[in-house]
């Protein structure tokens, strides 16, 4: 078992040992430890610490669990000259992320039509196993524009408002994307998947603000008690999965070629200065932009669904974007290390960027609050809105947790759900759920997830994000 040393109530250290180049730093509470120690995720944190050019500790957020290569919940920074980039540090669903929309509606205004709204969303946004759009296929030059320009392309096509872009991480476009480095296989997989939700833990959720922790911050984020909100959680679909797969193959060869000693084959990587490393970053940026465009298109159909069901115009609905964050990504960012600014490649795999007030990458509207951080929970409980902090910037390269994390395997969850009607149980709690298949709904039952409130309490307690509000679901569409 991996050695752990407690630092304080929320921090644990894996001391530097053997081939580790740095220490591991885990954010969690004592109560979380047994379940974290259940899988190999702490070993994965220690393994990442052995990679060349790592700067600062190999970190993990409280929602840490086993992932391919890097643990999910992992954060690691690498020097642009001596360091590496690894597809396993990003994951298969490149730029899987979350966006939050607010409305001008009070929850009492929507109870009448929730079923109608959920059905309309379900019809407008293809979801589930094999979801694709019949009405919308990407070809040649348009496809390349999506990969280059992300959400910016979507807005140019009339999907959403220019003001949306200011409220998306990186403006909805990661620079340096090169469509020519995205394989034809990946493009083929993505061609009719733009504007689809996919399956698994992805969802569109209509909810309401059920608790406010910090009224001034909530007001600045445009949030009020009992306000109706909408969350979109999805990523880059088959296109991103294929980019990851393509570059895992490239990196397996590259690791050998550059003599990088790997404690685990899944950590295959390449130097950031190598053609393989640069190509992956450029292809990954393309997939990330596809995901930004995907969430932007889905937002358009969310807005349309609200307009249709409530027979209200955009101005009265006020479906504005609060923020959109990526939680599976590698990015070149500037951070202060030992008192001087340094460009670093930050891997966030199942971790959310959490920049503080006055950071240049935080949009105007949030200069005083810090960047909104969106942490979705399971479909039966709640999600959280937080903001980034100075503590996060200095300690975790401006990163925090991303979600709840599974407690049960899908197989176990289905067993637990057997003989029950999850849809009826949730309806009894006032949550209307529609999914493409019974299986996904059963696999996604509340009990299968850890309580996201515990995760959020740790990051709030540790100061690497600040709680603003809690949202409860009213209606959910599931893949």
């Amino acid at each position: 078992m991996v050695k752990l040393r407690q630092i304080d109530d929320y921090r644990w250290e894996i001391p530097r040992e053997g081939k580790m180049r740095t220490r591991g730093l885990i954010f969690c509470s004592r109560e979380m430890l047994p379940s974290i120690q259940d899988d190999q995720s702490l070993q994965q944190v220690a393994n990442v610490a052995t990679l060349p050019g790592i700067v600062g500790p190999s970190m993990a957020m409280p929602d840490i669990h086993w992932g391919y290569g890097f643990a999910i919940g992992g954060v690691a920074a690498f020097d642009p000259v001596d360091g590496i980039v690894s597809p396993g540090g990003v994951g298969y669903d490149i730029n899987c992320g979350v966006r939050l929309l607010r409305t001008k509606l009070h929850r009492d205004q929507v109870t009448c039509c929730m079923e109608d709204l959920v059905n309309t969303l379900f019809n407008n946004i293809p979801s589930g196993v094999g979801s694709r759009r019949q009405d919308f296929k990407l070809t040649g030059s348009a496809f390349k524009k999506v990969l280059r320009d992300g959400a910016r392309w979507a807005v140019q096509q009339g999907f959403g408002e220019a003001s949306d872009l200011a409220h998306i991480e990186a403006g909805g476009r990661i620079e340096g994307a090169d469509p020519d480095l995205v394989s034809d296989f990946a493009m083929n997989r993505g061609k009719d998947q733009l504007g689809t939700l996919g399956s698994g833990n992805h969802f569109v959720e209509v909810g309401h603000v059920c608790e406010i922790y910090d009224p001034p911050l909530a007001a600045k984020l445009g949030l009020f008690q009992d306000q109706v909100t909408a969350i979109v959680h999805t990523g880059s679909r088959g296109l991103g999965h294929q980019v990851c797969e393509d570059y895992i193959k490239v990196m397996l060869k590259a690791s050998a070629k550059y003599g990088i000693e790997l404690p685990d084959r899944q950590l295959c990587c390449a130097p950031l200065t190598s053609p393989e490393g640069k190509n992956y970053l450029a292809a990954m940026a393309g997939a990330a932009n596809f995901a930004f465009a995907n969430r932007q298109l889905i937002t358009h159909w969310v807005r349309q669904s609200f307009e249709r069901v409530f027979k209200m115009g955009p101005r009265d609905l006020g479906l504005d974007l609060v923020y959109d964050v990526a939680h599976n990504i590698a990015k070149l960012e500037t951070h202060t290390v030992d008192g001087r600014p340094r460009k670093l490649c930050i891997h966030r795999k199942g971790a959310t960027r959490a920049f503080p007030p006055h950071h240049p990458e935080v949009p105007e509207a949030y200069r005083e609050t810090g960047q909104p951080v969106l942490i979705p929970g399971d479909m039966g409980r709640y999600s959280f809105v937080l903001v980034g902090t100075q503590q996060a910037l200095t300690e975790t390269y401006g990163s925090t947790c991303h979600g709840a994390g599974r407690k049960m395997s899908r197989h176990q969850a289905k067993k637990v759900a057997r003989g029950r009607s999850i849809i009826q149980e949730l309806a009894a709690q006032g949550i209307i759920v529609r999914g493409a298949g019974r299986a996904t709904i059963d696999e996604e039952i509340s009990e299968a997830y850890k309580d996201v409130a515990n995760v959020v309490d740790v990051v709030h307690g540790a100061g690497i994000a600040k709680k603003v509000a809690k949202l409860k679901p009213l209606g959910v569409i599931k893949g």
């Binding site: 899988d39 669990h65 086993w66 992932g67 391919y68 999910i72 298969y92 669903d93 589930g128 196993v129 094999g130 694709r132 296989f185 083929n188 997989r189 061609k191 998947q193 996919g198 399956s199 698994g200 088959g238 999965h241 294929q242 990851c244 797969e245 895992i248 084959r265 899944q266 599974r406 407690k407 049960m408 395997s409 899908r410 197989h411 176990q412 493409a436 298949g437 019974r438 299986a439 996904t440 696999e443 893949g479």
Partner: protein, 150 residues
Amino acid sequence: MKGRHAEASPRGRRPYRQMPHTADLAWRLWGETLPRLFENAGRALSATLTDVRFLRRRETREVSVASSDREALLVDWLNHLLYLFDIDGFLGRDFQVATLTDERLEARVQGDIYDGARHPAKTAVKAATFHQLEIVPDNGGWRATVVLDL
């Protein structure tokens, strides 16, 4: 059915079985020969996504995959099947591996185009991975483990 030996080649039993894995899904697969093992892997993948009994045999795909070694070939084969599913919804019901070396696989797959109205949706798969991947001799046949990222 012969014995309850967990690792025995399961004659008469379904040649694939799910293993516990919290975040993802692991399949334990068997085959009397390597080609049968690869065919069973294809079936297990279709069975992950839907109930294979509802798949008709009305479309054919000729598949050719090349890889660096036998285990990588299994991953690439499954990922190619996922690719076919993503591009037009094709899901295999019958798998016939015609040629199989350590580096190359040629197969003919017969199946159906996935239609949510006819085919119950099960679990979506992002990719087959190298995690815990193995192909080993087992009771005169072959056994494999492959983990799918969901």
